[in-house]
């Protein structure tokens, strides 16, 4: 066991855990942030994506101890003063989810993309989502939701 310090959604947390524990277990079980989902534990599906220093990062394999001193943002941290972010609003307005298990990861991927590139073209959007799997077939709604944000100025 070791003490590690994690800065998540603007707050610093001291956590006791096996330093090899993948980040997602610490987020979900110790910090009660269940937005990131465990989908494969193999970095193959994207359901566990979070932002680390603004970069799209999968949290299901890499150890929590690797993220010491990093700024982590989970899907819960995207809302500002209780209001969903532009990307989140667009997902709601376009109905860009069915079961919703992959959705948080997709919201994170879209946010990471738009933060860097507010005017991505279609190929850039698809490339940014390439690691993400959706089984219900909400892909087209997700693309429309991102397009809606882009049309609105690209502010994620």
């Amino acid at each position: 066991m070791a003490k590690i310090s994690l800065k998540v959604n603007g707050e610093t947390h001291e956590v006791d855990c096996d330093p090899a524990t993948p980040l997602i277990y610490v987020l979900r079980n110790q910090l009660d942030l269940v937005g990131a989902k465990l989908g494969c534990g193999l970095e193959q599906c994207g359901a566990c994506a979070v932002l680390v220093d603004g970069e799209h990062t999968l949290s299901c394999v890499r150890a929590a101890s690797e993220f010491d001193r990093a700024e982590i943002t989970t899907v819960e941290g995207l809302a500002k003063s209780g209001q969903p972010s532009a990307v989140q609003r667009a997902f709601i307005e376009e109905g860009a989810a069915q079961c919703g298990y992959c959705t948080a990861g997709l919201v994170i991927a879209a946010t990471a993309l738009l933060e860097k590139n507010p005017k991505p073209d279609d190929a850039e959007i698809r490339e940014a989502l390439d690691e993400h799997l959706c089984r219900c077939g909400s892909h087209l709604r997700v693309l429309k939701a991102i397009d809606r944000v882009v049309q609105g100025g690209g502010n994620a």
Partner: protein, 716 residues
């Protein structure tokens, strides 16, 4: 309204609706939301019939013993069953509340108007609210199935855009799924599965067992059922991995590795003729020679491999055994049948078992949900007093879920000189789709629950009986909607196939419609008739024709096709009585032999539309999932077990192959609801196969249409 099994089982209005002191209306249903937005549709129906704003409607998560028993959420039946029941219940409640209001206000009921649950008497200042009238008391009356429902022309809520229930919580990451549950003292658990179905636990090294308990994990063992539980999830994950590697497994003979498509048509089987969608307990007639009027006879065999549900979130459940009672939180699609099965399997009284539905990841049928609930139950019974959150791993889900069976379809048909089909024969070969939990006489029920087969003195595997219901099991949509003379249809339930199978979205319909719609194009070409016209010539149902026409028109059927691309179309009515769906596709086969989808038109008629966006999502999502099955998917295995154990070995559709999709929905405000969740799947495979042929001249008859399959076809 149509006859309602839902209302026959739960006639009391209080089973369906309760009005809280705060004015919120709680709707109870036995149908669970699995991402198909049934709760949003039910909320719209209730809001409309009750004249209450939709923001005041809640849909209860189904709990055994409390909510109505509506069987399994399956077969695209939820709108026809729960939708109609909730509509009748809401109309009954509205009428009853109006009558109470008239008495309470001392006015004639004809003077009353309702606005968002406030009842006012016209021309007076007299009013009373639903919650005042309900006064936290039960209604104490039965639902009147014939209660007058609103004229769709007067709708104020249905038809307006609405936000999907639960979507805001999902998008903002609030707890929603069973995997997100947290309870005081909860332990995280993992099951250690054998390497394959036939392997059994021979021995467990004492040192490994000791190391497991030293790492703070509790070991649960019952025969070959092996599990670990720990306060710390990662400790349970590591302990399970260690046990899997170090346990001594008796591997037995392994899985039968012979070519499954050969086995499908050569193994022992139960063969039954199917007439009007219904299997007959009669001998199968041999195929007759073509009639005299035939100018041409074609035959072809189509094939589909095993497919998996492939839920993105592996199955999970929470279970708590306390005071001789067992409570389970599960994403099962049938909490009542699961409870009955568990009662039988565990020898517990039904009233000592409670199952709450909590959403899981999209399931599309009988995935690992029910088995995970049983796993959790077994662990909880071994560690009483502690809530157990059991999660399957990705590998558990890929290797142990019950798959959709591989299938083969043999078709033979003759056309006359006018291009009319004068004889049609189809034989379909498949394993069962019917292994959901169900209590059965003779103790056969527990064999339907995977973990029961691995306990000490485990149950023997069940040999399933042929499903005799209309358009069910492997013969779903075996009978085409087209008007054909001399139809010969046969279902073959094949024995001794190697993999575990059960219900996946559409059951047999996906492959049957793939075969029918591919063959229709082969016949149309033989007759020299355009595929749309050829289908129209064999359709009588105007709604079917309208849907086919709508898809063709939307894609621009008949307009010039861009260079290098091809178009295909296909049609079916689900079970020949539910939603109509036509799919038109424009795609190319590129220089890497990949199928790239460009434009898609979907057309549907699902009767009266309640939630337009939700219905569109069912058509779009159904198309994309079926396109994934068609182009990419195949469960693989060898003697050592399942070899498609992750997303690299079982690839599915990604964002790089998502076409533009236009969906045309034909609303029928004065017709009943038609179940729509599965309608588009079969036509999708047919349309893609036909478009590949149109684009590349390759008639692909075995899915998936991978680059390897396309190259192999091109070499022939």
């Amino acid at each position: 309204m149509p006859d309602s099994a839902s209302l026959e089982k739960s006639p009391g209005l209080d089973k369906w609706i309760s009005i809280g002191k705060d004015g919120r209306v709680l709707i109870h249903t036995g149908k669970v939301d699995i991402g198909q937005r049934i709760s949003t549709a039910l909320a719209l129906i209730a809001a409309e019939e009750l004249d209450v704003d939709i923001s005041r409607i809640d849909i209860a998560r189904t709990e055994t013993g409390i909510d109505p028993d509506e069987g399994i959420t399956s077969g695209s039946n939820s709108m026809e069953e729960a939708g109609n029941a909730v509509r009748a219940a809401s109309a009954t409640a509205r009428r009853h509340l109006l009558s109470l209001a008239a008495d309470s206000l001392g006015v004639d009921v004809s003077t009353l108007e309702i606005s968002d649950g406030l009842i006012q008497s016209r021309g007076t200042n007299l009013s009373v609210t639903y919650e005042e009238l309900a006064d936290d008391q039960p209604f104490g009356i039965d639902v009147d199935p014939e209660a007058l429902v609103k004229d769709p022309a007067s709708y104020g809520i249905i038809g307006k855009p609405t936000v999907t229930l639960g979507l805001t919580e999902i998008v903002t990451g609030q707890p929603h799924f069973v995997q997100d549950m947290k309870m005081p003292g909860m332990l995280h658990a993992r099951v250690v599965r054998p390497p394959h179905y036939k392997a059994r636990l021979a021995a467990l090294d004492d040192a490994v067992a000791e190391r497991t308990s030293n790492s703070g994990c509790q070991l649960v063992r019952d025969g070959s059922f092996l599990a670990v539980a720990s306060e710390d999830e990662f400790s349970a994950v590591k302990a399970a991995e260690r046990l899997r590697e170090n346990a001594d497994w008796d591997l037995g003979e392994g899985l039968e590795p012979q070519d499954v498509f050969r086995r499908l048509v050569s193994n022992e089987r139960v063969s039954l003729p199917v007439v009007d969608g219904l299997p007959q307990k009669e001998p199968v007639e041999p195929l007759k020679p073509a009639p005299d009027s035939a100018v041409s006879t074609l035959n072809a065999r189509y094939e589909k491999p095993y497919l998996m549900h492939g839920s993105i979130g592996p199955s999970a459940a929470v279970a708590l055994a306390e005071d001789d009672k067992l409570t389970i939180w599960s994403h099962s699609q049938g909490v009542y049948v699961l409870r009955a099965s568990l009662s039988e399997a565990l020898g517990m009284e039904m009233e000592d078992l409670t199952i709450h539905h909590v959403p899981g990841s999209g399931c599309y049928g009988h995935n690992g949900a029910d088995d995970a609930a049983v796993d959790a139950a077994l662990i909880a019974l071994a560690i009483p007093g502690k809530p157990i959150l059991l999660k399957w791993t990705r590998e558990d889900e890929h290797a142990w879920e019950p798959y959709a069976s591989c299938m083969a379809m043999d078709l033979t048909a003759s056309i006359d000189d006018g291009g009319k089909v004068v004889a049609w024969s189809q034989e379909t070969y498949s394993d069962t789709f019917g292994m959901r939990p169900r209590p059965e006489p003779g103790g056969a029920g527990p064999a339907r629950l995977l973990p029961m087969q691995y306990r000490e003195n485990g149950v023997t595997p069940l040999v399933p009986k042929p499903n005799m219901a209309r358009h069910s099991g492997l013969h779903r949509n075996l009978d085409p909607l087209y008007t054909f003379e001399n139809k010969r249809l046969v279902k073959n339930l094949v024995r001794d196939l190697p993999l575990r199978t059960s219900a996946l979205r559409t059951l047999g319909a996906f492959a049957n419609v793939f075969a029918i719609e591919s063959f229709m194009d082969e016949l149309a070409e033989e007759a020299g008739i355009d595929p749309v016209t050829f289908r129209m010539n064999h359709l009588e149902d105007q709604r079917a024709k309208d849907v086919l026409r709508a898809a063709a028109d939307k894609l621009g059927w008949g307009d010039p096709v861009p260079d290098g691309r091809g178009r295909g179309i296909a049609f079916a009515q689900y079970k020949n009585i539910q939603a109509y769906a036509a799919v038109a596709v424009e795609l190319e086969v590129n220089d890497k032999a990949e199928v790239v989808m460009h434009r898609v038109a979907l057309a549907g008629d699902a009767g009266q539309i309640v939630d337009h966006a939700g219905l569109t999502a069912q058509y779009e999502g159904g198309f994309l999932q079926a396109a994934s099955w068609t182009l990419y998917e195949e469960v693989t295995y060898d003697q050592t077990g399942i070899t498609s154990r992750d997303w690299e070995t079982y690839p599915i559709l990604r964002f790089d192959n998502i076409p533009e999709i236009d969906t045309v929905l034909i609303d029928q405000p004065n017709e009943g609801f038609l179940g729509a969740g599965e309608g588009v799947s079969g036509p999708t495979a047919g349309a893609i196969a036909n478009a590949v042929y149109n684009a590349a001249g390759l008639r692909l008859r075995r899915m998936p249409f991978t680059p390897d399959a396309i190259r192999a076809a091109a070499m022939e």
